[in-house]
């Protein structure tokens, strides 16, 4: 039974993820007064990349890419999409977040294994940025877990039946959204993949199918991050309602990223550890003294 | 011509004897000097404020069988320009370096050596500067034929059909 559920989660992740990425490119084009590619452009890109004859830099390069995709698929299978929950009791928040780190580490190891210094610089930036956005995110989640006394995502979801966490803990939601922007690696926080400075960072040596696999991984990771946000902060009711909320959050994120220039890496960490972390502690303090709307 | 340049010219004439002066415009003058006096003049000009060697180049007068070395000095105080020119032999051109006056001259002389084949004593750094793996006579000499070199090294496309004929047909003047 769970096999079908997991398959359903993965397929949703694949199809919904890629279509939404296509829609995002359309939105960005329209923001820049351009016509923009068709919505299915990302499907074509992925399969085009997969179909080419690329180059490989040895077994660690392949193993890294496989570990990355495997890790993210494992994380995705644990995340409940609305009421579609693959593993009912076992979807613990910390497990999901740190399982996500497996994917990140796999990609990092594979890319640096390619031997290109651009990749190492990109990975170093990605890890520092992760240090930046992870801490406020975890603190705000801790506040929620402390308030609801449970850390399994599906329980958190059901406990929000009366009013969403977005309204109960607005500051926590804001902090989580800012960290979400960092996690997605969208424009203001895409220093690790800066094409102009370090030739698209870690992906510098990715030729054909490795590029395809990593685009898949990127889609799945976006899907995981946003569905986490939706589950915890927006209630995430039935499957379709969940997808609707998912799209709304995704469009907002794309709009913000369409207009903002890129941060410098020092600014990212300094920013994250000043404003969002302060807000997260404020929210935690409010939860402690019970000021929850 | 600016009077400051005039009295400077007078002074040079006193020091180095006569030389032919040609005034180009209100702040620019060209002087032709024998090759042995060039360094002396350049040092005096430099001490007089013409501190900036803005260009050192060479012109190939093939029919007089001579090279003309041109030094353009520019002064930042009064914005005037001095062009010092001299003639050297074309067969195996040799001249003294001004690297000690202006360090930048090193690269100018290296370029002249590469493109004209002029030897500069005192400047031992005569490696090729711009061209990679050049295997012919220095290219900017007049007796070098670039078209023939290009045909030899970079074969083009063999046009066997009559292009003009085709253009006419295309424009409809001729039927076909």
């Amino acid at each position: 039974m769970t096999i079908f559920k997991v398959a359903a989660v993965l397929l949703t992740g694949f199809f919904v993820g890629l279509t939404l990425e296509g829609i995002a490119r359309k939105i960005i084009a329209r923001v820049q007064r351009r016509y923009g590619p068709p919505w299915y452009q990302n499907f074509i890109d992925v399969f085009k990349a997969l179909s080419k004859h690329g180059f490989s830099h040895g077994w660690i390069f392949d193993f890294g890419v496989l570990m990355a995709l495997g890790g993210v698929i494992a994380t995705l299978s644990f995340v409940p999409l609305g009421n579609l929950v693959a593993f009912p009791g076992l979807d613990n928040v910390f497990v999901v977040l740190y399982l996500f780190a497996v994917g990140a580490l796999g990609m990092a190891m594979g890319m640096v294994g390619s031997g290109n210094p651009n990749a190492s610089i990109g990975v170093a930036r990605a890890l520092t940025q992760m240090l930046g956005y992870e801490v406020p995110y975890l603190v705000s989640l801790a506040a929620i877990i402390f308030y609801y006394k449970t850390s399994s995502i599906s329980n958190l979801m059901n406990l929000q039946a009366d009013s969403w966490n977005l309204f109960k803990m607005p500051i926590g939601a804001a902090v989580a959204f800012i960290s979400l922007m960092g996690m997605l690696g969208k424009k203001p926080f895409d220093t690790p993949i800066a094409p102009a400075e370090i030739a698209s960072g870690p992906m510098v040596e990715l030729s054909s199918k490795y590029m395809g696999l990593l685009m898949l991984m990127h889609t799945f990771s976006i899907f995981v991050e946003i569905s986490l946000f939706v589950d915890i902060f927006l209630g995430g009711g039935s499957y379709l309602v969940f997808l609707l909320k998912f799209t709304v959050v995704w469009i907002i994120a794309t709009l913000i990223s369409a207009v903002l220039p890129r941060f410098r890496i020092e600014q990212v960490v300094k920013f994250y550890w000043r404003v969002p972390l302060g807000l997260a502690f404020l929210q935690a303090f409010f939860v402690l003294i019970g000021w929850v709307f | 011509m600016m009077n400051s340049m005039n009295d400077l010219l007078e002074e040079l004439k006193k020091l180095f004897g006569n030389f032919e002066v040609q005034e180009i415009d209100e702040r620019e003058v060209k002087i032709d000097v024998e090759s042995d006096k060039v360094v002396g003049i350049l040092t005096t000009l430099k001490s007089k404020g013409y501190s900036h060697l803005s260009l050192l180049t060479c012109v190939d007068w093939i029919n007089e069988n001579k090279f003309e070395l041109i030094y353009i000095l520019y002064s930042w105080q009064n914005g005037c320009k001095f062009i010092v020119a001299t003639w050297i032999e074309r067969k195996n051109p040799k001249f003294v370096t001004v690297m000690n006056l202006w360090p930048v001259a090193r690269f100018y002389e290296r370029e002249i050596h590469e493109f004209f084949g002029v030897e500069f004593e005192g400047n031992d750094d005569m490696k090729p500067l711009i061209l990679e793996l050049w295997d012919d006579i220095p290219p900017l000499r007049k007796d070098f034929d670039p078209l023939e070199y290009s045909k030899k090294k970079f074969p083009g496309r063999q046009y066997d059909k009559d292009v003009i004929q085709e253009a006419l047909i295309f424009r409809g003047d001729k039927n076909g």
Partner: protein, 609 residues
Amino acid sequence: MSQLLLILFIGSFLVYLLTRMNWIIGVLANIGLAIYSFYRLFTFKVGTSESIFSLIVNQNGTLVYSELSKFFGIISLIVAISVYFFLINWLEKQKNRAVFNFFLALITASTLGVFFSGDLLTLYIFWEIMLLFSVLLVQMGKEDSKKAALNYLTISLIGSYMYLYAVFMLWNRYGTLVIKDIVQKISVETSIFKWAVLILIAAAGIAKSGIFPLHTWLRTTQGSSPDAFSAILAGQLEKLGAYMLVLTVAVFPSLKMFPVLYGGIPVFNYVLIVLGMISILIGTLMAIKQNDMKMLIAYSTVSNSGYILIGLATMDKIGFAGGLFHAFNHAIASVMIFLSFAAVIYRTKTSKIDEMGGLIWKMPLTFITYLVGIISLAGIPPMSGFISKWMIFVVLVKKGMFLTAAAAFIGSVGSFLYVFRPLAGVFLGQLKSKHKDVKEVPIFMLIPMLVLVVITVFFGVIPGPVLNMITAVEKELNIQPLEHTMTVIKSSVGQWNTLTVFTMFAVGFIIAFILYMVFPKAKRIPLTNQYTAGEFLYNYDLYHYSTRFYAFFERLYEKHPSVEKLYEMFGKFFKDIGEFLNRWFYSASPSAYLLWFSIVLLAIFWVRW
């Protein structure tokens, strides 16, 4: 137990003689000794207590074999056996081998002695023996290891003498030194006495495991001590610190002794938690800066001891279990990492990260050990390191201690950064030309590394056996035991199943592998065929990014106050006073003596008359 200890001590003399004859036999004897004691550890019946030869006139020491000593004994012996196996090939490059082996055997014996000791003074005696011989072992390393050894000695002595002071305070108050009796009587004392005693006892633990105020010796000692010994230092000796912290927090019933401050945690434990927090931050931020890989892992030990301390000090059924399990994981992981470093140094003779690169192509097995080691150390799911960190996170969040939780999060995400630095700088990237002919380390060095890999992965997937031991310890220290099945860990806040996580990870890996195989095969290109923005490169040594790996992050906290310089300043301060005294009092002219003579006379008169 005293019979086992006696065998071990005599055995170590035997090892000394054997190693003088032929060092391989000596090492094998050492391994035999360790395996024998490992076997005997399981045969002892828990709870038996014996007496050991009398050390004070009217008091003979007692040895108690409790669940706690069994748990820590197993950790230290696993570490010891794996390092001794490693020595079979590694030792030939070490000078005066006999003494090296002899001291190693003595250290293992005295560590077991510490774990078995039932009364405070026997514990102190084994502690001092271990300290003395570890100092003599540390200074056998590189040239600046002499200074590092003295530094290590002074700080550890500060810790152990504060402990001795507490021992005498207790002995003076109760007449007995057996831990069990003291524990009953102590909770009724005045709070100042309780605070003083427990802080002093904790000082020994803090000094040994490198928590905040007494952590400066770790960097220099790990950096310059012989490589095999730094594995023992990190694996075995840090766990002594952890044992002492368990002693102060759990054996002495801190719950009953101190008023509860916040979230069910007594005041004293809260002070320890604050120390743990600071040491996590310091350990992480300084580890990111280090360029020498052994010093880097030394600072990671500081931050992980911070985790252990926080875990233990929460005295909650999950937190305490998390602390103990983290002690186990940290021991195994840091030994794996140090053994892989020792293998790398054995081959490349340098321990600086920016002098190496691309060693994965020459030493793949060492790379795999290091990879699994850092996955467990950094706390990433499939490996056992994550389980203990998860427990600590859950307990911190459940108790609502957000500042500590934030520090723990910074520590765990920061650990991704600093463990990745040697991975990228040493193993991945371009292979340096001078390391072209580096071969993999001989087989005997690989066996212990791969065995440890298997252990970490196994306990990562099925943490049951270790958790059973931990719950036994919790029952013994009458803390509410953690409920867990073989693979599911339950907590009041949430539960997860390590097996499903591993299977899902495997499923994901298989899906990715299928995708990988379906599409056209990629052509293998050499390491030097890189995208170099159109330029022709010939010296690929320079084309490797490893010096100041996190330069942009380090710039944020460049001008940070350094505790090490503070202690050096103290050292110099004492030396200056010595200089002053020497000049004024001891090598002065006779007339100066008369001056002091009369001053003393006047002083006594003035005071007494």
